[in-house]
């Protein structure tokens, strides 16, 4: 297709050469891959916030418990982990109370995994709207990550309550100044799930199977993240798998800051930062490419 376009655009360039008009917009078959049009997204920032609001309102309207559901989900998962991994399997949690240990991991992880799965199906779930009207498509994944951030905020509140309880009743917790890094970690997770989700979103539009694979894959990925087993407890032979996962350093650092145990490794964290940004960049590029033609394939 490229050459056809090349000929065509050469032709039109020749035809339009003398005309020095000021066009505000040019629609062409393909634009520069690096033309990310982030300015457009900024112009539509109100829309992002409205999408976030819509997500939130529509999810909890006509439910009795409303946002309380946000507490139930991590609590039940933590209790399950507590019973299965803590009591039955008796996995080591580096001497920390298992309940708060698991809750810390789950709170962080569920933000990442929920954003990721939601972003990765963004084209398929919004096909009806996307095929009718144009707005910068990036606003949609952005709003998904933000509305999950609100959810995370509430769940983080729950974690803080539990954490405060353990802090006063037990002496196993040693919070330190690293908990100041939490905002950075949260932003990092947001960007990582955004980037990764956008890469997958491009693929799920064409090959629907990937959506199935992804929901399943995210569950598996949790085991390659130190949510259940602390990084230090993984045998050096397999540790590289966890270390290669950019989420690992985020979970470990988060836990280290609040609970005072775990691995803190500057190199691992820097690796996560760099990887997140690379993935985000690739994600945006791919996303921008797909948004132009997805209506024909979805």
């Amino acid at each position: 297709m490229q050459t056809v376009e090349a000929i065509k655009s050469a032709e039109s360039a020749r035809l339009t050469a003398p005309d020095q008009e000021h066009w505000t917009e040019i629609i062409e078959p393909r634009t520069n891959l690096l033309d990310l049009r982030l300015g457009d997204v900024w112009r539509y920032r109100d829309l992002v916030m409205l999408f976030v609001r819509r997500d939130f309102v529509s999810n909890y309207k006509q439910t009795i418990l409303g946002p309380i559901w946000l507490f139930i989900q991590p609590l039940l998962t933590t209790i399950t982990f507590y019973i299965i991994f803590g009591r039955v399997a008796k996995l080591d949690t580096s001497g920390l109370p298992p309940f708060v240990f698991y809750l810390a991991g789950i709170t962080v992880w569920s933000y990442f995994s929920q954003s990721l799965t939601a972003v990765s199906t963004v084209f398929v779930t919004n096909a009806a709207m996307f095929s009718k009207v144009y707005f910068p498509r990036l606003t949609m994944p952005l709003s998904i990550v933000l509305s999950n951030l609100v959810r995370f905020g509430i769940q983080f509140g729950l974690f803080l309550i539990v954490w405060a309880y353990y802090l006063t009743t037990s002496s196993a917790l040693h919070p330190n100044w690293l908990l100041m890094l939490t905002p950075l970690l949260v932003v990092l997770m947001g960007l990582l799930s955004l980037g990764l989700g956008m890469i997958f979103s491009a693929l799920t539009t064409k090959y629907r199977d990937l959506a199935m694979l992804l929901t399943f894959g995210v569950q598996l990925l949790m085991y390659a993240t130190p949510v259940i087993i602390p990084l230090a407890n993984v045998s050096p032979k397999y540790r590289w798998i966890m270390v290669a996962n950019p989420m690992s350093a985020i979970v470990e650092t988060f836990r280290y800051g609040f609970l005072g145990s775990g691995t803190l490794n500057g190199a691992y964290l820097s690796y996560s930062i760099v990887t997140s940004f690379i993935i985000l960049f690739i994600g945006i590029v791919i996303f921008n490419k797909v948004e132009k033609s997805f209506t024909d394939t979805v």
Binding site: M1, Q2, T3, V4, E5, K8, S9, E11, S12, L15, T16, Q20, E21, H22, W23, T24, E25, I26, I27, E28, P29, R30, Y44, D46, L47, L50, F51, R53, R54, V57, S58, K61, Q62, A128, M129, F130, S131, K132, V133, Y134, F135, K206, Y207, R208, K292, S293, T295, D296, T297
Partner: protein
Amino acid sequence: MSNTVIKVENLGKQYRLGEIGTGTLSHDLNRAWARLRGKEDPFAKIGDTNDRTTKGSSDFVWSLKDINFEVRAGEVLGIIGRNGAGKSTLLKILSKVTAPTTGRINIKGRIASLLEVGTGFHPELTGRENIFLNGAILGMTKIEIRNKFDEIVDFSGVERYIDTPVKRYSSGMYVRLAFAVSAFLEPEILIVDEVLAVGDAEFQKKCLGRMKDVSVNDGRTVLFVSHNIAAVRGLCTNGLLLNQGRVESFADISTVLNDYFSTPNDEVDGGREINKNKKDNYFLKWYLQVGDEQRHYCEPRQELSFCFEFVNKVKLNKAEVGFQIRGNDGEIVYGTNSRDRNGLYFELTPGIHKFVFDVRLPIRDGNYEIDVAIAENDTIVDHWISKTRLELLSKEKDTVLSESVTGILRELSHFSKVKTGSL
């Protein structure tokens, strides 16, 4: 600097037919390989024109090909063409919903499209929340929406329900609210596609009025796609006629409409899909006999014969036949029966028959439904509502009045004046 606001050059859009997903990976690889070698896309050169009545040899069709036209500021361009001519594809490209395969479009100013009103409306949100959401989707900022909020609510006429979730709205209220938001966008270029197919007659009038307002008073450019010929004639200055993905004609609206009427509507055949073994008596097809021609469209007041072909395997003794013409809202525009004008019941021996009604139809432009029935001894033998609609098209405007005040009956009057006394 000219005042051209849209300039379309060599625009083309190719679609792949058939099931997406089977073989796409191999095609993708093929494409990538060709690209790597700097060769032409192996699937771009093949492809037929967009004629869906004949089976093409290739899996790829050009839904649009070699489209060139320009639109000047303040112009109202009507885009017309039969179903599948590429109108919607063109609008989709213009509104950036999908990218073209070839060519380019240069645009000056902000484009907003009303491809479908109410996009992004969420049933759980209230009318107020949806106005903001929908407005933002269409490109307005929060402040712009807030400034126009009262006007929007006023125009929609749903003030009382503005804080009720829209899922509790009637479909009419929903559409009104949705259109109201779009109507108060202030883009330099507005794209409108068949929005007028929704809502009741009164609301349609309001919408047409608003569009006219936008183009005449505000001097905005409007691209209008519609099958409603009367509306196109009333609103548009210029026309673009598409046929099978190509520009058939591009000129002032009356020239283009004339071209449109002279292109035969060959997709339409007035036939009936029916299991012929299951029925003893059935209508086969309908058409209008106008001179030597058989067609499914006519001009108002034209002398013509309404013909129905009928097959009966069983003899009918005391038969009568009648048909109705119905408008878009199902209202009966005209009805007649073979026994009118002192006609008698008739006998029908097995065979193929043609029923002919000589009429003239002084009714206004539009699409009408044909509903025909035959009865024996007051019992319906066969009843058929044709999928082919009757199209009424005026070659020229026959009244100075606007459509909203002329009514459905299009009979010309003879005017004269006499002085009958002095004061």
